[in-house]
C-alpha cells in the first residue's frame, strides 16, 4: 500500500480510489456491446488507474447477478446470464445456418489452431471448399494466423475474439474437452506412415507449391 501511495504521489494527478475505478470500468463495459481490452480501459480511464484490479472487484460484484462480467480473450464484456436466455425476445438476427462442413472446419480450427488448410483436409479427409472458409472469415469467427514454418510457408487459420465472445469462452484454452483430447493424443499432427492416400489434398498440393513461387515475388 505504501508503495502504491508513493507511485501515486509521483504522478501529477492522483488515480481515483479503486471503488471509483470500479464504477468507471462498470460504466464503460456496460455501455459497449463489444468486449473492451484492459489496454483500452486504461486509455480511457484517468491516468494511473488500474483497470485489472478494478475488474477483479467488479467481476465479484456481478457474480450470480442477471448480468455477468466475462472475459473474452484479452478483453472484457458484460453479458446476460445464460440461464435467463428464455426471457429475452428473440428479435436478434438468427445466425446463418452453418453447414456441417463449416461447423466441422470451425471446430478443427478452434481445437488445432494455428492450422493450415492442408491439415484441416487431412483431418476431415476431404478438401475444404472455398465457400466454407470464406463464410467463416466473413462471420469473423476465424482469421489468418502466422504462416507455418514448414515448406511452402502455408498460411494458418486461428479463431477470433468474436468466436470466443459468441461461444462464451474466455480463451481458446477453455474449449470443452480440450485437455482430454490432448491427453488422448488426438490433437497431434501425426504424419501418416507413408503410402497413405493423401485425402482431399490432391491437386491442392501442386497449387500450394506454385503459390509459393508467386508469394516470393509479391512479398517484398
Amino acid at each position: 500500500m505504501s508503495q502504491d501511495d508513493a507511485v501515486k504521489e509521483e504522478s501529477l494527478f492522483e488515480a481515483p480510489p479503486i471503488a471509483e475505478q470500479e464504477r468507471m470500468v462498470e460504466a464503460i463495459l456496460f455501455a459497449s456491446t463489444e468486449p473492451v481490452t484492459t489496454k483500452e480501459l486504461s486509455a480511457r480511464m484517468p491516468h494511473g488507474s488500474d483497470p485489472a484490479e478494478a475488474l477483479i472487484y467488479l467481476r465479484k460484484r456481478y457474480e450470480g447477478r442477471g448480468v455477468r462480467v466475462v472475459k473474452v480473450g484479452d478483453a472484457w464484456a458484460m453479458r446476460t446470464a445464460p440461464d435467463l436466455g428464455f426471457l429475452m425476445s428473440r428479435e436478434t438476427v438468427e445466425t446463418r445456418k452453418l453447414s456441417r462442413a463449416a461447423i466441422e472446419t470451425l471446430a478443427i480450427i478452434a481445437y488445432h489452431q494455428p492450422v493450415t488448410r492442408a491439415e484441416i483436409e487431412e483431418i476431415r479427409g476431404v478438401s475444404v471448399s472455398r465457400g466454407t472458409v470464406d463464410q467463416l472469415l466473413e462471420m469473423e469467427w476465424i482469421r489468418f494466423g502466422r504462416r507455418k514454418m514448414t515448406p511452402g510457408r502455408p498460411v494458418t487459420f486461428v479463431v477470433t475474439q468474436e468466436f470466443l465472445d459468441h461461444f462464451g469462452l474466455e480463451s481458446a484454452r477453455d474449449l470443452p474437452g480440450l485437455k482430454e483430447l490432448r491427453a488422448a493424443g488426438l490433437l497431434e499432427n501425426r504424419p501418416p506412415p507413408g503410402l497413405m492416400p493423401q485425402m482431399g489434398e490432391g491437386d491442392e498440393d501442386a497449387d500450394e507449391a506454385s503459390t509459393e513461387g508467386q508469394n516470393e515475388l509479391f512479398e517484398d
Binding site: 458484460m78 471446430a107 483431418i123 479427409g125
Partner: protein, 262 residues
C-alpha cells in the same frame, strides 16, 4: 428359400445391417468423402473406435464399393483411391510380413487409419459440443442499447482485411501484363554470378559460405538479395559441374559452403 428364414437370433441383425448398407449406397452423395464413409461403417462394429477391427472395416468398405459398382453407381475418384489402398492394407494385414519389404507395416498403417477415424469422430463431437454451448444472441446477450454520449466527434476511417486483400487482388490481376520495370534492376543474372564467382573462386581454398559472394548492393534489399542468392547458388552448381569447385551443406537450411577444387 432365402437364408433369412433360418435363425431367429442372428438374422434380424444381419438383415438390418444389409438394409443399412443399401441405405449407405443410395446415400453416397451424403458422405463427406471416404473417411466419413469409413467412420459410418465403423459404427456397425459397435466397439470403441480404439478397438476397431481395421481389417473388418476394410472388408466392409470394399464390399460397399463392390455393391456400388454392381448398382452402377458412380463413385468419386477418392472413394476408389481409398478402396485400392484398403485392398492393399488388407493384403498386408493378412499375409505374413515380408522382411525384405520396405515401408511401414500393415499394423502401422491400420493404426494410423484408426487414429484418423478416432480424431475425426472427436472433432465431430467437439463441433457438436461447441454448437451446443450457450451462445451470444441466443442464450446470453450483449447490451441492447450501447450508449453514445455525443461529445467528441472523431472521424475514423475503417477497412477490413477483406477490403485490403480484394483491393490488392484487383490491382494485381489488372496489371499482370505490364512489365515490372522496377523488378528488373533487382535481378542479378546467373551469367553475372558465374563471371563473378569465376573471378573469386581462385582465392577460396577453404570452405566459404556462398552467401559471402553476393555482390555489393545485393545484400540488403530482400528482392535483390534473393535474386543474387539464387543466381550465385546456380552459378556455384555450374562450377561444381565444371569440376572447379566443391559444395557442402551440413544440414537442411544450413549455410551452403564452397571451396576451390584443385
Amino acid at each position: 428359400m432365402t437364408e433369412d428364414g433360418f435363425s431367429e437370433v442372428d438374422k434380424p441383425s444381419e438383415v438390418a445391417e444389409r438394409l443399412a448398407a443399401e441405405a449407405l449406397i443410395v446415400d453416397v452423395d451424403g458422405f463427406e468423402g471416404p473417411l466419413d464413409l469409413l467412420l459410418t461403417l465403423s459404427r456397425t462394429q459397435k466397439v470403441d473406435l480404439r478397438r476397431i477391427s481395421v481389417l473388418e472395416l476394410a472388408r466392409q468398405y470394399l464390399t460397399f464399393v463392390e455393391r456400388a459398382k454392381a448398382l452402377r453407381l458412380e463413385l468419386a475418384a477418392d472413394y476408389l483411391v481409398m478402396a485400392a489402398w484398403l485392398a492393399f492394407l488388407k493384403s498386408r494385414l493378412l499375409l505374413p510380413p515380408d522382411p525384405t519389404e520396405e515401408g511401414p507395416s500393415g499394423e502401422e498403417l491400420a493404426a494410423h487409419l484408426a487414429f484418423q477415424l478416432e480424431r475425426l469422430q472427436a472433432m465431430r463431437d467437439c463441433a457438436a459440443r461447441l454448437m451446443g454451448r450457450d451462445r451470444l444472441g441466443r442464450d446470453f446477450f450483449a447490451r441492447g442499447l450501447p450508449e453514445d454520449v455525443t461529445r467528441l466527434r472523431r472521424v475514423s476511417y475503417s477497412a477490413t482485411l477483406l477490403d485490403l486483400m480484394q483491393g490488392y487482388a484487383r490491382i494485381r490481376t489488372r496489371d499482370e501484363f505490364r512489365p515490372f520495370v522496377m523488378d528488373r534492376d533487382a535481378i542479378f543474372t546467373m551469367e553475372q554470378a558465374l563471371e563473378r564467382l569465376r573471378g573469386l573462386i581462385g582465392f577460396a581454398g577453404t570452405w566459404t559460405d556462398i552467401s559471402t559472394y553476393l555482390p555489393d548492393g545485393f545484400t540488403t534489399d530482400p528482392a535483390r538479395r534473393r535474386s543474387a542468392t539464387a543466381s550465385t547458388f546456380a552459378a556455384s552448381l555450374e562450377l561444381v559441374k565444371e569440376g572447379r569447385a566443391e559444395l557442402r551443406q551440413s544440414e537442411v537450411f544450413a549455410p551452403i559452403e564452397m571451396r576451390r577444387k584443385d
